[in-house]
């Protein structure tokens, strides 16, 4: 395993830390015992964070229309800048466990319908105001308002009331129980700002905004009154918009940037040979999909859907499109690191005979059109062509309709019978299933509707017994795997990279840039 050897060398050379080593070993599927024994063998100096220095981030996804309002965040630049400025009630850590942030503790009433969050005391905003429950209520309601433009609106849809039950206590009441509420309030959209403000960058984060030129750069400096001592080491930060993949890598190599996101898998090998650079790669929850609309012929036929699932060569796609930087998918969206991942579901493999069998059973003998664009995900067109070739071997005529990336989400996705799409990781299984697979989900991209699925999903959400809950998610995943119209050929790795003098970077499986919070977690060695 080349990746495992690389990890060991990087550890011995002191290029990666203990925590990073453990989490990446786990991501590779190495047992904890083995990883521990390697750790014990390595002469290991304790890492003490160094204060000071100027950190430069080079991130993609920046546009001149970006704003600081968390409700508008859709891409990495704004997401990472936002987490410098704002805090959420809770945070999801590198092991995908929920941790306290602005809420010191929380408690769910039986049935998980009512949640009480106790706020941390003595937290102040950048403008000097002290954090109170009223600010939290205001900030969460910002996304719930009737005319809200927030992408987090759907996430909070099941909330019936948010109220300040005491000056430092917020009570959230739900229409139906949800055991994952503490995870939901960790969402990066739900940054807390002072009551009555317009979310123009004043938060409680470790960094204070100095200047912001949308689509170009933002400058922030350390918050002298930051509430947490375990974060926020560098003195000042420059977040640079570098949308071009090659330009980001050039900036990192030439020292013009210290941390970059979304490294092209093609250049990972070259970067690993460079001693001044460390690649942070982790198997993630992000995945690519080919949704088939279950409400349109021929995809309304379960046998035809199965024929398609057996007719795609996932291994070849991971090898060619992701160059091995990813994992084969199994037509259900829960990633292997998730506690509710059902490991015993049999893996779909390319099997032309089974595909032919189901095709015959379905009685369909025409052509199907797959509408794709590289705007759906990088390499979507290549993946579609590989699909076309393997489907041909199974006797299915797949035609590719290649369309421009511009307007793709508007004109193709959720409209054409068969297209390509992608999903970033969600911190909980419930969120992933609710957003894409529930019958009434606005983003139910395969238009797969199963009342028994919805019922079980809602029951699982309110179930507080872990063993029972695990069985429920197992059954839900199996339903999607067997029946839904979504083909999930692969899970892609998250690949960030940094200069070797940047220490403390721990990749997280759910989001890039260490859960978008790399800025306050890292420090610079001299």
């Amino acid at each position: 395993m080349a990746e495992w050897d690389y990890l060991k060398t990087a550890l011995a050379a002191g290029r990666i830390g203990r925590r990073e080593f453990m989490s990446r070993a786990a991501a590779l599927g190495v047992s904890a015992a083995l990883a521990d024994s390697v750790l014990a063998g390595a002469a290991f100096a304790a890492e003490t964070p160094k204060k000071g220095g100027h950190l430069i981030l080079g991130l993609n996804g920046a546009a001149s229309g970006d704003s600081l309002d968390p409700a508008t965040y859709t891409a990495t630049f704004a997401q990472v800048l936002g987490q410098q400025l704002y805090n959420t009630l809770t945070e999801v850590d590198e092991k995908v466990k929920v941790q306290p942030a602005l809420a010191e503790s929380w408690e769910g009433k039986p049935g998980a319908k009512e949640w009480i969050f106790k706020l941390r005391k003595g937290v102040t905003f950048h403008n000097g105001k002290t954090l109170t429950a009223a600010d939290v209520v205001y900030s969460l309601n910002h996304h719930r308002a009737k005319d809200s433009k927030s992408a987090a609106k759907a996430l909070l849809a099941s909330i019936s009331e948010i109220k300040a039950s005491a000056p430092d206590e917020v009570t959230i009441t739900l229409e139906s129980g949800n055991a994952d509420m503490p995870y939901i309030v960790a969402d990066y959209h739900l940054g807390i700002g002072p009551e009555g403000t317009k979310f123009d960058g004043v938060g409680t984060g470790c960094y204070i905004l100095e200047s912001f030129e949308p689509g170009v750069r933002a400058r922030t400096k350390i918050n002298p009154n930051k509430w947490r001592s375990d974060r926020g080491f560098v003195e000042s930060v420059e977040t640079l918009a570098i949308n071009d993949t090659t330009a980001r890598v050039n900036a990192l190599i030439s020292g013009s940037a210290h941390l970059i996101n979304r490294v092209d898998p093609k250049t990972v090998g070259l970067l690993k040979n460079n001693k001044k650079v460390v690649v942070h790669e982790i198997a993630g929850a992000a995945h690519y999909t080919f949704p088939m609309r279950c409400d349109m012929a021929p995809f309304d036929n379960k046998d035809f859907r199965l024929a398609m699932k057996y007719a795609i060569d996932r291994e070849a796609i991971v090898k060619t499109v992701l160059l091995g930087h990813g994992k084969v998918g199994n037509d259900q969206p829960i990633a292997t690191f998730d506690p509710y991942y059902a490991a015993d579901i049999p893996q779909y493999k390319f099997d032309p005979d089974k595909a032919k069998f189901h095709l015959k059973k379905s009685g369909f003998s025409g052509q199907v059109v797959l509408t794709v664009s590289d705007g759906a995900f990088t390499g979507a067109v290549d993946a579609a062509q590989l699909f076309q070739a393997s489907a041909g071997k199974a006797g299915i005529t797949l035609l590719i309709d290649r369309v421009p990336a511009d307007g793709y989400w508007d004109n193709v996705w959720l409209k054409k019978p068969f297209c390509a799409s992608y999903w970033d990781g969600r911190p909980t299984a419930d969120q992933m299933l609710t957003v894409v697979y529930k019958s009434d989900a606005p983003w139910n991209e395969s238009f797969w509707k199963r009342p028994d699925f919805d019922k079980l999903l809602i029951e699982a959400r309110a179930e507080l017994d872990p063993a029972k809950r695990k069985q429920m998610y197992h059954d839900l995943e199996l339903m999607i795997h067997d029946d839904s119209g979504n083909i999930i050929p692969m899970f892609n790795n998250t690949i960030d990279a940094g200069a070797s003098k940047v220490k403390g970077f721990v990749p997280t499986p759910t989001l890039q840039m260490s859960g978008y919070r790399a800025t306050e977690k890292v420090w610079l060695e001299a």
Partner: protein, 315 residues
């Protein structure tokens, strides 16, 4: 001569008006609108409706165009639909950057290419002429991003002489900014060099067949003096025109160079605005681009008139 200039100016303004209608029509037929473009994959019908309402997109297109044009004439470019900030604020900084890069590139490229063109003409079919032609034609044949990446690889990554990013900011000193844009300016120079150089050479050689040049040769003047004193002034009109076109290109055609070097210029603003269906910003950028072309062409026309005694003197 004045009526001639006034006529040109009037025609220029008419062109600009036509361009504004075309740009508006073009942005109207793009699929989707700002509401769906802002939300992308996260669009739900109610969120889309909410954005449309708050931006006043339910008004008919003609009315929105008229409001915008009236505002523009009063010096108010309006607010960006995507982030609500005044357009003038975004444009100001980026337009200055674009003009800065364009002037830096032009102040190297124009003298260099005209000079090389003259030398090539003096040296017609000599080895210097051939080498200059081969080098400049090779440079123009390569795509801009390729030249950019080669320069980055050699001068930024390997030799570490120049930065690979040119993300300049207002608080930098003039010298720092000049140093930061060395690579993009060099890329642009290589891209526009061949066109101006070859036009200079061709225009001069074209004039060389005239009887008055033959006369100068018969007088026994050296070739370089004939070219500089007699041929060049008569070849100025086409040279001025091609220089104007290339100057306009340096302002409006540098989007690829901006992306490669992460330069905060106006091209990136326009591309972002198109992908976000931010019509007012597209319109403003479109009009500035059109204004640059029309203005530089106007200037070229006037200079050509001035350089030609036949046109200079009224009949």
């Amino acid at each position: 001569m004045l009526p001639l200039v006034a006529q040109r100016v009037a025609l220029g303004l008419l062109t600009l008006l036509a361009v504004s209608v075309l740009v508006f029509a073009g942005t109207e037929i793009l699929p989707g609108d700002v509401a769906t473009a802002i939300l992308g994959q996260s669009a739900t019908p109610e969120a889309v409706e909410a954005i449309r309402r708050s931006l006043g997109l339910e008004e008919p297109a003609a009315l929105r165009y008229w409001h915008w044009l009236a505002g523009f004439l009063h010096g108010d470019l309006g607010n960006s639909l995507a982030n609500g900030r005044p357009i003038i604020e975004q444009l100001d900084f980026r337009l200055k950057n674009t003009l800065f890069l364009a002037s830096a590139a032009a102040s190297v490229a124009v003298p260099l290419s005209v000079g090389l063109g003259i030398l090539a003409a003096i040296n017609q079919n000599g080895s210097f002429d051939r080498i200059v032609n081969i080098v400049s034609l090779s440079a123009i044949s390569l795509p801009e991003f390729f030249i950019g990446y080669v320069l980055i690889l050699l001068l930024a990554v390997k030799l570490d002489w120049f930065p690979s990013l040119s993300a300049i900011s207002p608080e930098m000193s003039f010298g720092e900014r000049l140093y930061d844009i060395a690579l993009p300016a060099a890329t642009l120079t290589l891209v526009v060099l061949a066109h101006m150089m070859r036009m200079t050479r061709a225009a001069i050689i074209g004039v060389m067949s005239h009887p008055f040049i033959e006369m100068a040769f018969l007088k026994g003047l050296p070739r370089w003096r004939i070219i500089v004193q007699h041929a060049l002034p008569n070849a100025l009109a086409p040279i001025i025109n091609v220089v104007a076109i290339n100057l306009a290109y340096l302002v409006v055609g540098v989007i690829v160079v901006e992306v490669v070097f992460v330069y905060p210029g106006i091209g990136q603003l326009m591309v972002d605005a198109v992908s976000k269906r931010d019509v007012p910003v597209v319109q403003a950028c479109g009009l500035i681009f059109a204004g640059t072309y029309v203005g530089l062409n106007l200037l070229a026309d006037i200079l050509a008139i001035l350089s030609n005694p036949l046109l200079r003197v009224p009949k």
